[in-house]
């Protein structure tokens, strides 16, 4: 067993919980919509959103799964927010994501994120052995309502 696989195996079952220090906020929603270039009025126009049965604008669905804004810390030397990683290494690359969305995320939602390492396994890729790490994040609002789930697969190159 490679050292990398060995060290990542030890992360299986690890959990971390983050409580956002404030509401999601309309500026965060607008900034994400701007970054993606997705100007859907569901995300930007409160009056329009209300005509579609929403109580305010909603966040673009993927925002809650993509943002780290619920972590209240500082930036580390690799550019990540301190405390965000369950990998112990931040040189992992993204293999893919599976999102499930349960209800709209609103500007006044205060996010709690539960991250957990579900699995670590080794697999042969085109360029040699790779170690995969599967993480699951569940996102809740201040009423404990499940908003979304992100199952994320990262990979690491082994054998160095």
């Amino acid at each position: 067993m490679s050292d990398l696989l060995d060290s990542l195996k030890k992360t299986v079952g690890q959990e971390v919980v983050f409580h956002a220090p404030e509401e999601m906020g309309k500026p965060s929603i607008r900034q994400y919509a701007l970054a993606v270039g997705d100007f859907n009025p569901l995300y930007l126009d409160t009056e329009f959103a209300k005509t579609r049965g929403l109580r305010d604008v909603m966040a673009p669905p993927t925002l809650v799964c993509d943002t780290w804004q619920y972590i209240d810390s500082d930036i580390d030397d690799k550019g990540g927010l301190v405390g965000r990683g369950l990998a112990g290494e931040s040189n992992g690359l993204r293999a893919g994501n599976e999102y499930e969305f349960f209800q709209p995320v609103y500007p006044d939602d205060v996010i709690t994120a539960h991250w957990k390492v579900k699995d670590v396994y080794e697999s042969e890729g085109r360029s040699g052995s790779l170690v995969f790490q599967v993480l699951e994040a569940n996102f809740y609002n201040q009423r404990g309502e499940l908003l979304a789930r992100n199952t994320e697969t990262m990979f690491y190159r082994a054998g160095e």
């Binding site: 701007l34 970054a35 993606v36 799964c65 599976e98």
Partner: protein, 136 residues
């Protein structure tokens, strides 16, 4: 309806949009903007955050489905890295339709190609909920 193609979404991804995405997601990882840093790690250039492409796919599906539809699931596998200057073409096709207690559910296969016809994302899929007619 099965076999219908979603109107493609085309994104020209430059460094400015990559920076905007990093700021918008509170993700300042240097892999996505620091050229010297990524070369030291063996990459040719800073590359697009794979989750940003997920944002494009969400847009593809919501634009096609309209404002009364709710995206229930989105899954994607990143295949080829995208770099600043790339043009990403996001496409989809309807693969399934069913009525459930939750609403009318539509499944789509999705994928993303770059300007060299490489699959940047493949496979990907979405599940979308439409209100049942009686609720409209």
């Amino acid at each position: 309806m099965i076999g219908d193609e979603l109107m493609p979404v085309v994104k020209e991804v430059g460094m400015a949009r990559m920076m905007a995405y990093g700021a918008a997601t509170w993700d300042f990882v240097r892999l996505h903007y620091d050229a010297d840093y990524v070369r030291e790690l063996g990459f040719e250039a800073p590359f697009v955050d794979g989750q940003m492409v997920g944002g494009f796919l969400s847009q593809l599906v919501q634009d096609w489905a309209g404002p009364d539809a709710f995206l229930r699931k989105l899954a994607f596998r990143n295949r080829v890295m995208a770099y600043p200057g790339d043009t990403l073409i996001c496409r989809g096709i309807v693969t399934g339709v069913s009525a459930t207690n939750e609403g009318g559910m539509v499944e789509c296969d999705l994928w993303v190609e770059n300007q060299r016809n490489e699959k940047v994302v493949d496979v990907a899929s979405a599940l979308v909920r439409f209100p049942l007619k009686a609720d409209v």
